[in-house]
């Protein structure tokens, strides 16, 4: 059986699945239930200074649904914990004492003053927690008060606060990043310079999930008004995967441990994050949608997949896809493929035809009896037909072998690798290809 245990930034846990800092980890009752079901650890919902904040008394969440009310994306306008600091600290200590083998990380958010950080770090140390996570990501409410993503959007602040924390605690410091920036590498580098032991990402994306067209009000609505919330759930996963990969392959941050967050709900989601360099993953929306029991699927699925592929432990898969993430300019322009439609599998819906005819390259022809065929002279191998086909495996992209004629370009497919940097049409290419 594959070994799922991890040691992330010095913190041990029996599996790579932590619950992210969020409503599920707001108090002892929930956290004990989660740990009893097998979660590897939790990041306790963000603590702040007393007097504790207050939340709105109307809806805190808005969602985007699929046809069967499948939750595709969710946003929230909840703030950090709205309970007194000492209550949280007492509960954290109690839980950690009883679950010594699980990771107990405490999320923190206090004003940008060193004394404030110094104070709260000392308090958290008393609980026996394994680490702290600096919440530089929360994009709503707290950011208006100069905290959360207001810090995370300024690399200099990230570096400064991280440095204070490292100077004032023996606990590992994880910096949680906001995705509401133009280039995630800058905040990650700042965290590294400040001495962070790890980064975690992504926090939520600024969002409005919908508009009530009767009230003309954004949702979720509080007494006829709305504000942007933080978007999470399956819809944000591609954004997060990209950001994790960017940090993993950046020269300055490649050795910085990353805790992957964003739309993780299954073993496969987790495996993809880990393949792109995440040392572990954090889960929130899926647990809020289905409850803590999803951990059973995530653990068993990951074990089955790793056993089936012969991966003995998390280390064997971590970062395995990073080397294959590259810049566009390095993609092989001599890799030539054509779409192929399986007549046996085709059910005749014609979506490939509609998509190609209306929005792509007019490379599919309809033969009698709803038989769809690719015109190689027109097919640029864009993959749209594969993407819109409802039958898995019905349309595939087949590579033309070296030496074959590409009827679209009239050129013979070359064996060698050639990319844009040396392409004759590239004004910046040195001497051409």
């Amino acid at each position: 059986m594959a070994d799922l245990s991890t040691k992330f930034a010095g913190i041990r846990s029996p599996n790579p699945f932590w619950l992210a800092s969020a409503p599920p980890t707001d108090k002892e009752y929930n956290v004990r239930r989660a740990l009893d079901l097998g979660w590897g650890g939790v990041v306790w919902k963000t603590l702040g200074l007393d007097p504790h904040i207050v939340n709105v008394n109307g809806p805190r969440y808005g969602v985007v649904w699929g046809a069967d009310r499948q939750l595709i994306g969710m946003n929230n306008i909840e703030l950090i914990t709205d309970r007194p600091l000492d209550v949280n600290l007492r509960e954290i200590k109690s839980v950690k004492r009883d679950y010594a083998d699980r990771a107990m990380v405490v999320s923190l958010m206090v004003p940008c003053e060193e004394d404030a950080w110094k104070f709260i770090l000392a308090e958290v140390e008393q609980t026996g927690a394994d680490a702290v996570e600096l919440n530089f990501g929360c994009p709503h409410g707290m950011s208006e008060r100069g905290m959360g993503s207001a810090v995370g959007q300024v690399p200099e602040y990230i570096e400064m606060v991280t440095r204070w924390c490292k100077a004032n605690t023996r606990m590992p410091v994880i910096v949680k990043l906001t995705p509401n920036v133009t280039d995630i590498r800058f905040p990650a580098r700042a965290a590294k310079r400040g001495g962070a032991d790890a980064v975690s990402l992504i926090n939520t994306l600024n969002s409005i999930t919908g508009v009530d067209l009767d009230a003309f009000c954004p949702e979720p609505a509080i007494d006829g008004k709305g504000t942007h919330g933080g978007y999470c759930g399956p819809a944000v996963r591609p954004v997060a995967l990209h950001m994790v990969a960017e940090i993993a392959r950046d020269q300055e941050t490649r050795d910085l441990p990353v805790s992957g967050i964003g739309g993780i709900g299954t073993w496969r989601d987790a495996a993809e994050y880990i393949a792109l360099g995440a040392g572990n993953v954090q889960v929130c929306t899926a647990a809020m949608t289905y409850g803590f029991r999803i951990i059973h699927e995530m653990i068993s699925g990951l074990e089955h997949w790793m056993d089936g592929k012969g991966h003995p432990d998390i280390g064997a898969i971590r970062g395995r896809a990073i080397g294959n993430v590259t810049d566009w300019q390095y993609l092989n322009l001599n890799y030539v493929t054509k779409a192929r439609i399986s007549e046996d599998l085709c059910i005749g819906c014609g979506r490939c035809f509609a998509a190609c005819e209306d929005t792509s390259h007019q490379a599919i022809v309809v033969r009698p009896d709803r038989v769809y065929e690719v015109i190689d002279e027109e097919c640029v191998a864009c993959n749209l037909c594969v993407n819109v086909c409802p039958v898995e495996g019905c349309i595939t992209m087949e590579r033309l072998p070296a030496g074959a004629l590409d009827p679209r370009t009239g050129q013979t497919v070359k064996q060698d690798y050639a990319n844009w940097t040396a392409h004759p049409n590239n004004p910046a290419a040195n001497g051409g290809g």
Binding site: I347, C349, G350, V366
Partner: protein
Amino acid sequence: MPDFEHSAGVAPGRLPQAAYAENFEDLHPPLGSHAAQVAADRCYFCHDAPCVTACPTEIDIPLFIRQISTGMPEAAARTIFDQNILGGMCARACPTETLCEEACVRTAAEGAPVEIGRLQRHATDTLISADVHPYERAPESGRRVAVIGAGPAGLACAHRLSMKGHRVVVFEARRKPGGLNEYGIATYKTVGGFASREVDWLLSIGGIEIRPGCLGDDLDLAGLRRDYDAVFLAVGLAGVNALALDGESAENVDDAVAFISDLRQAANPGCIPVGRDVVVIGGGMTAVDAAVQSRLLGARTVSIVYRRGRDRMNASGFEQDLALRRGVRIITNARAVRVSAVDGRVREVEFVRTREQGGNLVDTGEMFRLPVDQLFRAIGQRFDLLAGGLEIAGGRIRACENGRTSLEGVWAGGDCTGGGEDLTVTAVAEGRDAAEDIHRFLVGD
């Protein structure tokens, strides 16, 4: 309490009263709005969708389903009614399993089509229940058209003509308008008086008057041609084919269509008498409707006997399965040869086994008998010929494309012509297309 259930002969009230409500409830209950969203999500929005091609009225099915999925069942209803003004009844009565749903690519993919019929009902019910009629009449044209028969073909034609600004008088021989929608469809396919509500809704466009009248009785074609600018004949099939058997005149040998009609018009199904042992002779939808409803009324045994094989039955596979699920026995390759009566009432039917031989049906000589208290004829209906110089083809009015007959200014459609498959939806298409052609004729386009 008398043992109604097993008493011999033909009797009403074989079941406890509560059983009737349960037995005759909606065969395909309506989808709620969430269920409709989920069902609509299964539609692939096919290019040149095969379901549309399979629909005799060519409703833009992918479009109306997409309109449902975006929360606009009213817009979906408009898409349906644009092509088929009786889309509400067609959603209930169409054999979708041999039309749109058979053609659905998901039938090929996974054996489970998009539930087009139920989605169509969801959309059309939205407007009809709200009593919203989405069409307005064009300005009065000053032209008058006579439509003979207020069945699906006649009503579809009348509505389209009225939309175009013409005045329409529909003559109907029966007490209520609706034709087979009102009298000929199994009760559990159109519950709650839907057929008459749909007709009221259709007529709310205005410009259509329904009058009692029967061609060959108080109306004649020459007079109609004289008094109206155009005539559309949609008289249906009034005659029922006889079995041509010795003893057929015995009591309790009945027409299936009359039984179905009586049941539709009954306020309480329990009032309709039914035999203890029922035999239905035929292989089409009418046979199934009569057989299933006999069971639902409490008949102890019900058998459909068809002279050819299962694959030759006009009733769809779905209908045959429905009959079997309701406990109807389907006996194929058997031909009735003799009806025996006791005290003037039918008591037994004798059959000979048949087989197909080189395309011909031959008797094998093997005989068997079934006890029977009530015998239904369901071997088709026939067109009772009209006088008046109309050309006839295959026993029905000869009509070319758009319903033009051999007489100038006279169109025909629906079951009285030979073109369709005797389906409501085909009749609607023919009525609609004839109206367009009549309009072109009237305005000289």
